[in-house]
């Protein structure tokens, strides 16, 4: 241990490393490459992971959607092919029967499923946009980002069937002048005036929305379009600790019961589970992280073996020098220590350079993907991983250094001196 903190030891090591600059550099590149690959790969994997996470951050991970289709099995006297219509009453039943449900938001839309979108007029400007009927609870399931000055639909809006709407960014751009403040202004949706209460920032991911969507209170929607208690689909968020897959099954079973659908009918109720998708992507990212770990470690090992190899040759070349040193009084443990330190030192230098270089490349990739569609955010390698990699390298460097070190001391000084 004393050996390690002695300035002279290091001078000796630098001396012998400097002797063979080209070879030392090439050797170091071997390990450098290993740790570089490890850092870049695992950083990139983390970046992808972060990227996915960012895409989904506005939607509750444990959320699901359920909608009604047509039956595919005859049941209870009904023929097959019967269209099913979800009703507002279903929400109440689901809420009481499935305790894992935290939030449930019935939604309905005009313009997505075959029917024409709402035609919207404001002064001389017109456009057609999908119009959604929503409850305020939706914002608990999928975050609604409203620009400052506005708000999303609230309880009062639904209770009093207010004619208010939240518009999308594109809608705002198309219906309003550039620096006009839309909040408080009126637009005409299918010939009914609505007051704009907010502009929604469009976020990708989570369903089929786009940046032109208009949200109005569910209760207003049903009056406007005469949809009664019809519900287009249900957005459901389960509690964090609930198994959303199970919730999905339960919800479908209950809906089948309510609407007299055969329990065997897999097509009557459609559903989509974000948790499952998210888990798949998560698994992919985890796999990538693991892969980068394996590849990185393997490359590091290859590099360290290269260092051992070079040191073996170097010991062979320096047999005579080591003999002289021992004739002058170097003990075997000093010789051994010096060679192991050389090995560890080379490994560490290579490692640190590799980490620095890898970080630069990660930063470069981050900058290059900043404004693109590629889900890639903040690629980082956790410090424990970096420290762990360095630790592994020190251990490997020591182990591999033992081989040439042992070779160096196994030669008797007299034989070493005799060698010409």
């Amino acid at each position: 241990m004393m050996l390690m903190f002695n300035r002279d030891t290091w001078q000796e090591i630098f001396g012998s490393i400097k002797k063979n600059k080209a070879r030392t550099i090439i050797t170091v590149i071997g390990v450098l490459w290993g740790i570089f690959i490890y850092i870049v790969l695992s950083g990139a994997a983390k970046g992808l992971d972060n990227g996915f996470e960012e895409r989904f951050e506005d939607v509750a991970m444990n959320s699901m959607f359920a909608w009604a289709q047509q039956t595919s099995v005859p049941y209870a006297g009904f023929k097959t092919g019967r269209p099913i219509q979800l009703k507002l009453g279903d929400v109440q039943v689901l809420n009481t029967r499935v305790p894992e449900i935290q939030y449930i938001a019935p939604r309905i839309v005009k313009g997505v499923f075959g029917d024409g979108p709402g035609s919207v007029v404001r002064g001389q400007r017109t456009g057609t946009y999908n119009v959604y009927g929503d409850y305020p609870v939706l914002s608990k399931i999928a975050t609604q980002k409203i620009y400052i000055g506005g708000r999303f639909i609230n309880e009062g809006d639904t209770e009093e069937d207010r004619k208010v709407c939240v518009i999308g960014e594109r809608t705002k751009k198309e219906l309003f002048a550039k620096d006009e403040e839309p909040v408080g202004k009126y637009i005409r949706i299918d010939n009914v005036f609505f007051r704009v209460i907010g502009v929604k920032k469009y976020e990708e991911g989570g369903g089929f929305g786009d940046d032109g969507d208009i949200n109005i209170p569910f209760t207003t929607f049903k009056k406007l379009y005469n949809t009664g208690d019809n519900v287009g689909w249900l957005a459901i968020a389960a509690y964090d600790d609930a198994d959303v897959m199970q919730v999905e099954v339960d919800v479908k079973n209950i809906l089948k019961k309510i609407h007299q659908i055969s329990p065997e009918d897999d097509r009557a109720i459609g559903s989509f589970n974000l948790g499952e998708i998210f888990n798949k992507i998560n698994g992919f990212a985890k796999g990538l992280t693991f892969l980068s770990l394996v590849v990185g470690i393997a490359t590091i090992i290859a590099g360290v073996i290269g260092i051992g190899n070079i040191l073996l040759i170097s010991v062979k070349e320096r047999t005579k020098e080591l003999g002289v040193r021992r004739a002058l009084g170097a003990t075997p443990s000093e010789v051994r220590g010096q060679i192991i330190l050389e090995s560890v030192f080379l490994t560490m230098v290579a490692g640190i350079f590799g980490i620095v270089l890898g970080s630069f490349v990660l930063r470069g990739i981050d900058a290059a993907t900043q404004d693109t569609d590629i889900p890639y955010t903040n690629p980082t390698v956790p410090i424990p991983y970096v420290v762990g990699a360095l630790f592994i390298m020190v251990v490997l460097g020591t182990l591999i250094g033992l081989i040439p070190a042992q070779r160096a001391v196994s030669i008797k000084p007299i034989d070493a001196l005799r060698e010409e």
Binding site: L328, G329, T331, P413
Partner: protein
């Protein structure tokens, strides 16, 4: 200073064994300058190696400055070598990527002497061999004679009890040889015990005592009148 009694050494060569030293008895006092002569195969190098603790005798006793040298492991041998002995080799054996000064300082490094003291001591010895201005030069930039003088400075730096020189002039022309011998004589004049292995009679005659080895035994051990190397230069 050196006491050797009934020293035997044999090497295994294939299945047979080669008896190199067949009972050597010798006493060397402090301050002597002894030439060990003999044709090749006479065992002179083996004897020097055993004296230098680079090799171990099969039988017999070896006492160096009152310390019995026995049961040596490598670590102990290294310490003794460092403390008691200075080596001068035929092929100089300087470390080629270290400067003259660093080479001279090397034995002090293994004595764990601080860097400053080491540099200072090494410089003193370089001055002693007249090569102070070559301190920062690498061995490759020095002539053979200069290299050997650096090697002698290195051997002296640790202030050993005995200087062991294995054919110190073997790789040098005669003029340079005499210069090196002159240095060795001067060091001996200061009281250092020196053993020189050589097969050159003129070099041997520059010592104070000649021990002649043949086939592993001492056949002649005589005191001679020293020829001063300075007369030849």
């Amino acid at each position: 200073m050196i006491e050797i009694k009934d020293l035997h050494k044999s090497y295994k060569v294939g299945k047979s064994s080669l008896h190199v030293l067949k009972g050597i008895n010798i006493n060397i006092e402090g301050g002597e300058l002894v030439a060990i002569m003999g044709s090749s195969g006479s065992g002179k190098s083996t004897l020097l190696n055993i004296l230098g603790m680079l090799d171990v005798a099969d039988k017999g006793s070896y006492t160096l400055d009152g310390v019995p040298i026995k049961d040596l492991d490598e670590t102990k041998a290294a310490k003794y070598r460092n403390k008691f002995l200075g080596f001068v080799f035929q092929s100089f054996n300087l470390i080629n990527y270290k400067t003259a000064l660093e080479n001279v300082a090397l034995p002090l490094y293994y004595q764990r002497i601080s860097r400053k003291v080491r540099q200072k001591t090494a410089m003193e010895y370089l001055e002693k061999v007249g090569l102070a201005e070559w301190a920062v030069h690498l061995p490759s930039e020095l002539s053979g004679g200069q290299k050997q003088r650096i090697a002698i400075a290195r051997a002296l730096a640790a202030q050993p009890k005995v200087l062991l020189a294995d054919e110190p002039t073997g790789a040098l022309d005669s003029t340079t040889s005499y210069e090196v011998m002159q240095l060795i004589q001067e060091i001996n004049d200061e009281g250092k015990t020196i053993l020189v292995v050589t097969h050159e009679t003129d070099i041997a005659n520059m010592c104070k005592r000649i021990v002649l080895l043949k086939d592993g035994v001492i056949i002649e051990d005589k005191k001679v009148t020293q020829v001063r190397a300075s007369e030849h230069v």
